[in-house]
Amino acid sequence: MNARRRFLTAAGCFAAGAPLALLAREARATPAEMAEAIRQVTGGAPVRAGRVRLDLPPLIENGNSVPLSVAVESPMTPADHVRAIHVFTEKNPLPNVVSARLGPRAGRAMLATRVRIADTQTVTAIAELSDGTFWSGSMQVVVTLSACLEEGLI
């Protein structure tokens, strides 16, 4: 939420004609913002690592369109199923990537899509189960260009 609020504030300053030099605001989430975005979903409940398999290519060239898939171990019965899958990043401009509400009618707890990856970072998927528990899986991805540039810049 904070990253979006800051972005909107910056846009507001722009409209007021403030010198652009002051506007070099970070359009970038931080691990803290990702943690907050996760907390908004979990309500502060503990998240356990496991049962969630997150797949992306380990090395990424330009990050514009990166295949991502999530699969969660679950029988997907009315009594025991995945209610939702949420995906987060720690260094994209915003922490949220995608959320999907599932249920027993899904048959399998999975989704696949294509995402934008801004930077070398950890991507995290959180599964919300019908028993109210939360599980996570994450993956470290490397954007090959970022290594040779970021060190010399901010």
Binding site: L59, L145, L149
Partner: protein, 730 residues
């Protein structure tokens, strides 16, 4: 002495096992405390060092050798800490696939930004030191003596009290099983005590290059391989609309005509010449899109407007330059410009790929094996454990072959259409000239204000032109609210590219004006134009104030001792305070870039007002530490070949949305007879920061020559290349 197998130009056929080092295949990854074996069965001491029973030391190098000497330099650093016999050292490249499988144990593969040595020296030295400790421990364990009583030198471990010795090759296998020491606790040698690093040792691959044994991607062959020639939409952003394969399918040797992505068409044939001949005859219709109307003139107009635009991103600022200039007794203003330029690697872009549903492999000259691997993953759609990249030697990189892997993507897209058959994609020179990743176009308006006593009171440097990062790494630009920090290289407010002057009131800002021409990292990147802009303008300011260019500069350099040291070194070297040889005139320039401090002073003579002979350049480089001084001298001189060719002869112009220059007849390069004598001074003050060598040195030759040209003729040239002013290099 590289790990490239014994190939000569005449026997091109290589087995896949032999290429890329035996390491590529047969590497068994351990479960538990087992030892990792290279393909020939030799155990790794650690990821960085393999030692064979005959004491051959194989140093793994992650970066790419492209003529800059990095593999020799990195091996020197490892060998220094390893205490091995240099005569027995050879190198090999681990593959990116192995790096991913072993959780990036070799770190970053990217070779650019003059980073090869300065960002890896610490961990590679620790790799060498750790291996030495493990070897020593293994010997001590065998002798059942304390390791502290043993010393390692020249590939031999000696137990001092008893005089017993053992060779590295004899204990290598046992050493591989010794637990690795904690890298952080290792003591590295003081560079003052270096015996291998710091020495002007001969490079590994010079002989092979001279005798023609060196295999570049250009030379590469596999059994059953086909050859592909490609044409991508010459108007950037255009797409393939249609092509008439039937017109060429019957031509000799032609096997396939395929579309490649949205933007290109390739012909695949038995030989490359057959593919190219058919491609030239193939009717292709491109949907050129709106960019077909763009020209150098239309771009220049947009940039010119940016020089006076209200909005600009600030890169460096102190005080109030605009107010100081507004209130100045005297104002000096000048507008400079810098064109698009192509990397013109002597070896055109190429990659060889073989695709099946179970495995996709690419052999490619690349500055970044991992970037090639990433492009391969994306283009093949296969998971990482089914893919591999084998690095080949590069006939020039200069920044074209690191961040940009378009030729890898294309090769895989072609190979995917002919599963099982290896395909070598080779660009023609024309394709390479058209499909560059160009040095960005830039204009600059500089304004200086003086008080009545001829003291500079304010300086405004307004850049107007293209951002590389906006196209290549937009995430960084977004992070900075639209600003591209790289635009201020050499004139930044802090860091590895900080400006080398303290002005009372300063404003350096950038009106970003992007175009459809794809920008890239050309050797030196933005220091090339920024050095011309600031160092030529400093001469203009000195002239307006009636002061000597060196004395004028020194006034602003009190807080920049390392910049001052290189400036003074070249001033002294050229004899600045003494008369120049008859008919010769001098110019000077300095800059900090890639954490090194560089300066150049030149002597030129001008005949007939326009024929320039560069007689001599004295260049000083402060890089903190010099791993191979001979290599630094070569890099400095080589950077001047690149930089002076660009200054005098090189410009890519845009017409009808495409680049006009297609070959060397309109994009020339300097010749040996035109090369000046270059004297190199290397300063090594040490310290915590190591400076780069590949790029910083290039930027100071052009402004030094431009400044000398003014001295010689009274003509101030503010746009390059010089051929546009009827000026030639003789």
């Amino acid at each position: 002495m590289t790990a490239m197998p014994k190939i000569n130009r005449r026997s091109f056929i290589l087995s896949t096992a032999a290429v890329g080092g035996g390491l590529a295949l047969g590497l068994r990854l351990p479960f538990g405390p087992e030892v990792v074996l290279a393909q020939d069965g030799t155990p790794e001491i650690n990821a960085w060092v393999v030692i064979r029973p005959d004491d051959t030391v194989v140093v793994r190098v992650a970066r790419s050798e492209m003529g800059q000497g990095t593999i020799t330099g990195l091996a020197q650093l490892v060998a220094e800490e390893l205490e091995c016999d240099w005569a027995k050292v050879t190198t090999e490249y681990p593959t990116p696939g192995q790096n991913v499988a072993r959780k990036r144990v070799w770190g970053d593969f990217s070779t650019g930004g003059s980073r090869g040595i300065r960002t890896s020296h610490d961990y590679v030295r620790r790799g060498g030191a750790a291996a030495r400790i493990m070897l020593t421990q293994a010997a001590a364990d065998q002798w059942k003596v304390p390791a502290a009583e043993c010393v390692a030198a020249n590939s031999v471990i000696t137990h001092k009290p008893s005089g017993r010795t053992v060779r590295y090759g004899q204990v290598a296998e046992a050493a591989a099983k010794v637990p690795a020491p904690d890298a952080k606790t290792l003591q590295l040698k003081d560079p003052k005590n270096w015996k291998i690093a710091g020495k002007p040792l001969k490079r590994f691959n010079t002989v092979d290059k001279v005798t023609g044994k060196q295999v570049y991607g250009f030379d590469f062959k596999l059994p059953g391989m086909l050859n592909a020639a490609i044409k991508e939409s010459p108007v950037f952003g255009g797409k393939v609309k249609s092509f008439d394969a039937a017109k060429v399918s019957g031509m000799k040797g032609v096997r396939r005509v395929v579309q490649v992505g949205d933007t290109a068409v390739a012909v695949v044939a038995d030989t490359w010449w057959q593919a190219k001949t058919a491609l030239d005859a193939l009717p292709i219709v491109f949907d050129e899109g709106p960019n077909a109307k763009v020209s150098s003139a239309s771009i220049a107009e947009i940039l010119k407007a940016g020089l006076d635009a209200e909005q600009a991103f600030v890169g460096n600022q102190n005080g109030d330059a605009k107010a100081a200039i507004a209130g100045a007794a005297k104002k000096i203003e000048a507008v400079y410009s810098y064109p698009y330029q192509n990397h013109v690697c002597m070896e055109p872009m190429n990659a060889t790929a073989r695709y099946t549903a179970d495995k996709c492999e690419v052999w490619v000259p690349t500055q970044d094996g991992e970037a090639s691997f990433a492009a391969l993953l994306a283009a093949s759609g296969l998971p990482a454990d089914k893919c591999e990249v084998y690095k080949l030697d590069l006939g020039g990189g200069f920044g074209r072959r690191g961040a940009f892997q378009d030729y890898v993507t294309q090769a895989v897209q072609i190979a995917k259409q002919i599963p099982g058959t290896p395909v070598k994609l080779l660009w023609s020179r024309e394709e390479d000239m058209r499909q560059g990743r160009f040095h960005p176009v830039m204009q600059c308006k500089l304004t200086g204000g003086f008080d009545a006593a001829n003291n500079l009171t304010g300086l405004h440097m307004r850049l107007s032109g293209q951002s590389i990062l906006a196209a290549v790494r937009p995430a960084i630009v977004e992070k900075q609210g639209g600003r591209d920090p790289l635009s201020f290289q050499g004139v930044a407010d802090a860091g590895e590219h900080a400006i080398g002057y303290g002005f009372p009131n300063l404003l350096i800002d950038h009106a970003m004006r992007n175009t459809h021409v794809p920008p890239g990292f050309w050797r030196g990147v933005n220091i090339n134009q920024n050095a011309i802009f600031i160092e030529c303008f400093m001469d203009e300011l000195a002239h307006a104030a009636g002061q000597d260019p060196v004395a004028f500069r020194r006034k602003f350099m009190e807080k920049y001792p390392r910049n001052l040291a290189v400036l003074n070194a070249v001033a002294e070297g050229i004899g600045w305070d003494k008369p120049a040889p008859r008919g010769q005139h001098r110019g000077i320039a300095q800059m900090k870039a890639f954490d090194s401090f560089v300066a150049a002073a030149c002597e030129i003579s001008v005949q007939g007002g326009n024929k320039v002979k560069v007689h001599r350049i004295v260049a000083a480089t402060d890089c903190g530490y010099a791993v191979n001084p001979a290599q630094i001298e070569r890099q400095v001189a080589g950077s001047f070949v690149y930089g002076l060719s660009a200054l005098f002869m090189q410009e890519c112009t845009v017409k009808d949305g495409r680049i006009e220059q297609e070959n060397f007849h309109t994009y020339n390069s300097m010749r040996i007879a035109q090369m000046p004598k270059v004297e190199t001074i290397i300063l090594q003050p040490g310290g915590t920061v190591w400076g780069g060598i590949g790029e910083p040195t290039i930027c100071v030759a052009a402004p030094a020559v431009l400044n000398a040209f003014f001295k010689a003729t009274g003509r101030r040239i503010r746009s390059v290349p010089l051929k546009n002013h009827g000026i030639e290099l003789v």
